[in-house]
């Protein structure tokens, strides 16, 4: 009886099969994960148009840097998705 029970239990474990392979979620590059800094403000009481221009240019530059990050985030997502789908 004991042997029969053992044999049956051995036979019953036949359907449990798992695939021990897990694809790790890729880590995004550090430069993309840094938050965009706040825009710069104009300091001082007497402000010349040159200072105003400089600050505006600095802020535009900052915007474009941030736009690059967004563009590259999208690029990263498209590439990583394609790589992930190739695994299947």
């Amino acid at each position: 009886m004991k042997i029969t029970a053992l044999l049956l239990s051995l036979l019953l474990v036949g359907c449990s099969t798992t695939v021990p392979v897990v694809a790790k979620f890729p880590t995004a590059p550090k430069s993309l994960t840094e938050p965009c800094p706040p825009l710069k403000k104009i300091e001082g009481e007497q402000v010349s148009i040159v200072e105003l221009h400089t600050k505006v240019v600095e802020n535009y530059t900052q915007y474009y840097e941030c736009a690059i990050k967004v563009e590259e985030w999208n690029n990263w997502h498209v590439k990583q998705k394609k790589i992930f789908e190739e695994i299947k």
Partner: protein, 163 residues
């Protein structure tokens, strides 16, 4: 079949073949000796052997699939790393171009204000030079006579504030 993961391939195969062989041999011996018990036990062993052989084949197929998947995952991880490096490089290069453009624009105006325009006008035609000098004078006059109104600075700062 998870039990099979714990055993080496050769041992599984040995046990399987042994069970098949013993099963068949037992059935024959039982038939010759006319012992029904031996025949029944041997038949059960044979059936178990067949089951194990099927399990072994499935296990081998799964192991092959696992190996294939592991290879694919490894390749994907390498590709992913390369893509990350490429993107990181693109961010650095594009940022450098944008910063350089901004720096040049600020420098251009600073030179106009300070009068250090030799480099800027050296390749200009007479007409372009005159137009440039007019703009420079206009800028210098504005600097002397037109300070930026406080309200403009305040509104600029408000616009720069996300809240």
């Amino acid at each position: 079949m998870w039990l099979l993961h714990l055993l080496p391939d050769s041992l599984i195969l040995f046990i399987t073949y042994a069970m098949l062989f013993l099963g068949i041999a037992g059935v024959i011996v039982g038939y010759i000796l006319n012992k029904l018990t031996i025949q029944i036990v041997s038949f059960i062993v044979f059936v178990c052997g067949v089951y194990w052989y099927g399990g072994y084949s499935t296990e081998m197929q799964w192991r092959a699939k696992v190996a294939e998947m592991q290879e694919k995952v490894k390749l994907a991880e390498e590709k992913s790393k390369a893509a990350n490096e490429e993107i990181e490089q693109q961010v650095i290069e594009k940022t450098k171009v944008v910063r350089e453009k901004g720096r040049k624009q600020v420098e251009y105006i600073t030179r106009m204000v300070e009068g250090k325009t030799v480099e800027i006008i050296k390749d200009m035609s007479e007409e372009e030079k005159q137009a440039f000098l007019t703009k420079q004078k206009e800028l210098q006059d504005a600097l002397k006579n037109c300070p930026v109104p406080r309200i403009i600075v305040e509104e600029h700062n408000k616009a720069a504030d996300p809240k």
